[in-house]
């Protein structure tokens, strides 16, 4: 039992599971804060019922997201101690700033929000939700800044046998991290928006709480449209930067083997990693990859064959992940555009509502795929170009990791099942009837 492989698997399970909940927390918190502000400003109780209904779903999701995040911070120590020792001087500080600046704020204020309805004025209570939303997103910013260092290390030097920080501001303004942030935050908003639209569609199809869910749908629609455009725009900037600083990842994203000018993209391919070429490909369009990567149809794009075999990322996962993410991202723009045209006759568009209801899982898939591209595509490096994943694991016995991995799968699987079950149940139940709430 290889502790490196098992630790990778465990980290993948833990992060991907954690990330089923985090984006909804990030996106939904902002939208709920907006709804509650509307209530505080207008006194319109429909907004209050909206806030409480979406808030209920938010809290179940939040609970699972928070508890599964704790293990991640500690896993760098438990499973990746060689990594932690080597880059802790740089990476550790970014990870430590996150709770200090953001997570404290989020966790303290979420308690106030949940229990503080009767102790705070409506305006103050809405402000508390803004604190939760801002702090949560700030948390993500710091985590992405830490991840940015792993993707594209800057602001350090090798001294005393480890990476030591030389320039804190270079770390904070790492272009790679900034691009991840501007890509990730709108992605979370897309997910939050589709979550709201999907559940609203369910109730609108049943013709219940029509006013509340029409308003919810419309708020989410505008946010979803703007954010899915932003996601595509920043995604393009991000891909251009990746082609500069992580050429091997870009080549794997496109399953691009031979270095060439006017490099084509293929719509679909089955890479044969052992033979170093595509076993089968379909729909090759010349020049497009050169254009995507360098905004120049004639630019030369380095192929995987020009990287030593031991420095190539797993191609199939990276390639497929990227295809699925981009495809879904395009679909989100289309769906929200159609919705925007139909916004004033939602009730007469049951077909569209049905599609939106079934579209709830799609942003989840897109986001998970995005992270798979980012993290698998970074391999074999744990810190790109600086340290290999194989050198980073703790000197611990494989059986220990095996046991903890099984525990992770069981506990997280159960939590996820219960969490999603409860969310579905509460979503279907719908909001409290109007009479009970003042």
């Amino acid at each position: 039992m290889d502790p490196v492989f098992l630790s990778r698997l465990q980290f993948a399970v833990a992060t991907m599971f954690h990330f089923l909940f985090v984006p909804l927390t990030l996106g939904l918190s902002i939208i709920i804060a907006y709804m509650e502000t509307k209530y505080a400003r207008t006194g319109d109780t429909t907004y209050l019922r909206m806030t409480k209904f979406w808030g209920k779903l938010f809290l179940i999701n939040f609970a699972v997201g928070v508890v599964t995040g704790i293990t991640l911070e500690f896993q760098f120590g438990t499973n990746w101690s060689r990594y932690s020792e080597y880059v802790g001087d740089v990476f550790g500080s970014l990870l430590a700033i996150e709770p200090t600046m953001a997570f404290f704020l989020e966790s303290t204020f979420i308690g106030i929000w949940v229990f503080g309805w009767k102790r705070l004025s409506a305006k103050a209570h809405a402000a508390v939700m803004w604190m939760v939303a801002i702090a949560g997103n700030f948390s993500a910013v710091w985590i992405l800044t830490a991840n940015g260092f792993m993707q594209h290390p800057v602001g350090y030097t090798i001294r005393n046998g480890r990476a030591e920080m030389t320039d804190f501001l270079a770390l904070v303004f790492n272009k790679f991290a900034l691009l991840e942030i501007v890509h990730m935050i709108p992605s979370a908003l897309v997910l939050g928006a589709f979550f709201i639209m999907g559940i609203s569609a369910y109730h609108l199809l049943k013709k219940q709480h029509v006013d509340l869910f029409t308003r919810s749908f419309k708020i989410a629609l505008v946010i979803g449209l703007v954010s899915s455009l932003a996601v595509a725009f920043t995604g393009d900037l991000h891909a251009v930067h990746v082609s500069e600083v992580q050429p091997a990842k870009l080549a794997a994203m496109e399953s691009h083997w031979e270095t060439q000018t006017q490099a084509p993209i293929v719509l679909f391919a089955i890479p044969d990693e052992a033979a170093g070429k595509n076993a089968w490909e379909f729909g090759s369009i010349p020049g497009i990859l050169s254009f995507m990567a360098f905004h120049d149809f004639n630019a030369s794009v380095k192929g995987l064959a020009d990287f030593p075999e031991e420095e190539r990322p797993p191609v199939l996962l990276t390639f497929m992940g990227f295809r699925i993410m981009v495809g879904l991202g395009t679909l989100f723009i289309l769906l929200t555009l159609v919705g925007f045209m139909k916004r004033n006759r939602l009730m007469e568009s049951p077909g569209y509502l049905k599609i939106m209801m079934w579209a709830i899982p799609l942003p989840y898939i897109a986001i998970e795929m995005g992270w798979m591209v980012a993290e698998v595509g970074r391999q074999p490096w744990i810190v790109y170009g600086l340290m290999k994943t194989s050198q980073a694991a703790s000197p611990i016995a494989g059986y220990q990791v095996m046991i903890s991995l099984i525990a992770f799968i069981l506990v997280y699987g159960l939590l996820g099942a219960v969490g999603f079950y409860l969310m579905a149940k509460k979503a279907i139940q719908g909001p409290e009837p109007e009479t009970v709430q003042q």
Binding site: E73, I110, R159, L422
Partner: protein, 338 residues
Amino acid sequence: MELQTTWFILWGLLWAIFFMTDGFDFGVGTLYPFLGKSDIDRRMMINSVGPLWDGNEVWLITAGGVTFAAFPKVYAVMFSTLYAPLLLILFALILRGVAFEFRGQIHSEGWKRIWDACIFIGSAAPALLFGVAFANIFRGIPFDANGLYHGNLLMLLNPYGILGGALFLVLFMLHGANWLAIKTTGDLHDRSVATAGKLWLAVVPLAVLFLVASFFATSLYDNYFKYPALFLVIIVTVAALLGVRYFIAKQYFFRAWFASAVTIVGATFFGIAGLFPTLYPSLNNPGASLTAFNASSSPLTLKIMLTVVLIFLPLVIAYQIWAYNLFKGKLTKHDLEY
């Protein structure tokens, strides 16, 4: 003061604050099956910590994060050598966290009983395991210069480790009982006060035993004999523990809780002061021991992090005090609605 020394103290302080704040949450959760006779009692107990536990738990995340930032080698070696107990603690904390949220979602007895059990396990297990872990750290952990652990999970359950676990558990239960005495009324209140009295009687012999056993099982007292002023830590801790009894008898429950908070901080610093400058001593290979000087980050990182911490931690403390203040006073039926 040198940067490393400052960070050593801050490191100890963060753990102490975590034990002091989440400590009463753990205590309430451990007392939960014993004091929560009815569903109303149990909801009262959950809601007594409901608005605060989440913020309290972040002190753990921060203590962990700061260990990473300021003493990366300690973070790496400590958490990999304590792999099994640490993951057990984390899984327990996961159960506790979701249990608070999930329990009220479905109104069925069986459903509630599952999450009731999770609240108990998720509170008692970390209390106990943190005690076992820290007692073992005071004693030294069997690891070598490569950060390799030479032992197994059962070795942590030596008599001194178990004593540390028992002391932490009972101390947190006392702290939790004091909290319940502040927050509750009626029958639950009376039972909490009576329980606090009984727990105090259990803490005293354990504390005495721990102080004596530390003399034989650890070298913590070396620093105390070198700097006798450090005995003040022990004196304050013992005085605070006596204060708990006095304030319970006088029915000053907030003061009793405050005194148990000071006792916990004191107990943590009893060990931290004895360890200095070592953060993570090796049991059989003193040369491998990790200290504030051989395991710290570079001066630049320490300075930047110190700036961050000195700006933000006072802010955190300020808004957390505001939150405590917002939810002060006895729980009423009103608070059960949420």
